[in-house]
Symmetry: C2
Subunit: 185 residues, 2 copies
């Protein structure tokens, strides 16, 4: 119901997800939504070039420690896909959402660092970012899409069709800077 | 105990893991082990160029369906790291172990497709492959190393220092070719 009302005079969500980024200019108008009593434009981009302050602002807004800019540059440059959402403010675009993907470009892809500015959370923008990624990966014939989700957000991904530990496959981590590292190597 | 006996007249495992691939030629002699009553040489390589039949042979030996060569080529070309083990047979090298890594080259890396030919399983070669990857990623300052493990092999990775679902982080998958796909998008 929420979606029906939310998008009734703009795009349908499914249409918004399907129509963007197929030969359109980048950034492209994705949708319009109400924010602080006004209807604002939300733009979608696959560009890998960011304003450092924009990224830092978004990082801090969701409580993440922002890595050094040089590291972020390397991480983004070596991401297979970057999807960002921008709010139009007085003719300029302000970053409000972000996610990126690493991939071998053929078999599998991992989604990392999904972030939506708190003022825009609960408006379906995280869902749009994920579906944009899925659509774009599908066009590249990459079928297996994975991510690592904090326990607070597994429900969000389950609703989007993600499966937790399918066929009992477990996500496992090795932290090579941990104190215990030397006892293993 | 097993390790102590196994490596007593060759390398110590820890030494084998630490010494290779630091300015040495590729493929480099990793260790020697007993196989069918003879002491054979095991070589390690980071090359991305493979004999297709070797890879197919290894795939089938571990019960994997082998993807088309063209797809494997793309997957390997876009892997950040490939680590292979070879047995020396009459002066030629025969592929007996393989693993690859995708990465953003700065923050995180995912290990995929660890395979050791069944005749060489239980001899610590899987462990060597994983430690080689960890060592090489560590040299690149990549601290977070992850993988998705079948339930049958989680114990193997736990012994190597991997943590399952750390801080309740869950591995989640989306299969965009599944029947249910259209109901989500």
């Amino acid at each position: 119901m929420f979606w029906k009302n939310f998008f009734k005079d703009t795009y349908l969500l499914s249409k918004a997800c399907k129509d963007t980024n197929q030969g359109k200019k980048d950034p492209s108008l994705l949708t319009r939504l109400f924010y602080k009593g006004k209807k604002i434009k939300i733009f979608l981009s696959n560009h890998k070039i960011f304003n450092w302050q924009d990224l830092e602002f978004l990082c801090h807004s969701v409580g993440w420690e922002c890595p050094p800019f040089k590291k972020i540059q390397i991480g983004i440059a070596n991401s297979f896909m970057v999807v960002s959402l921008f709010q139009e403010v007085l003719g300029t675009l302000k970053l409000i959402g972000f996610a990126r993907v690493t991939s071998d470009k053929v078999f599998n892809a991992i989604i990392w660092d999904l972030a939506v500015h708190p003022e825009f959370q609960g408006k379906g923008l995280g869902k749009i970012l994920i579906y944009q990624i899925i659509q774009q990966l599908r066009r590249e014939d990459i079928i297996t899409i994975a991510l690592f989700a904090d326990s607070q957000v597994t429900k969000f991904y389950l609703k989007l069709g993600f499966i937790q530990d399918p066929e009992d496959i477990k996500g496992m981590f090795f932290y090579s800077n941990s104190d215990e590292y030397s006892s293993y190597i």
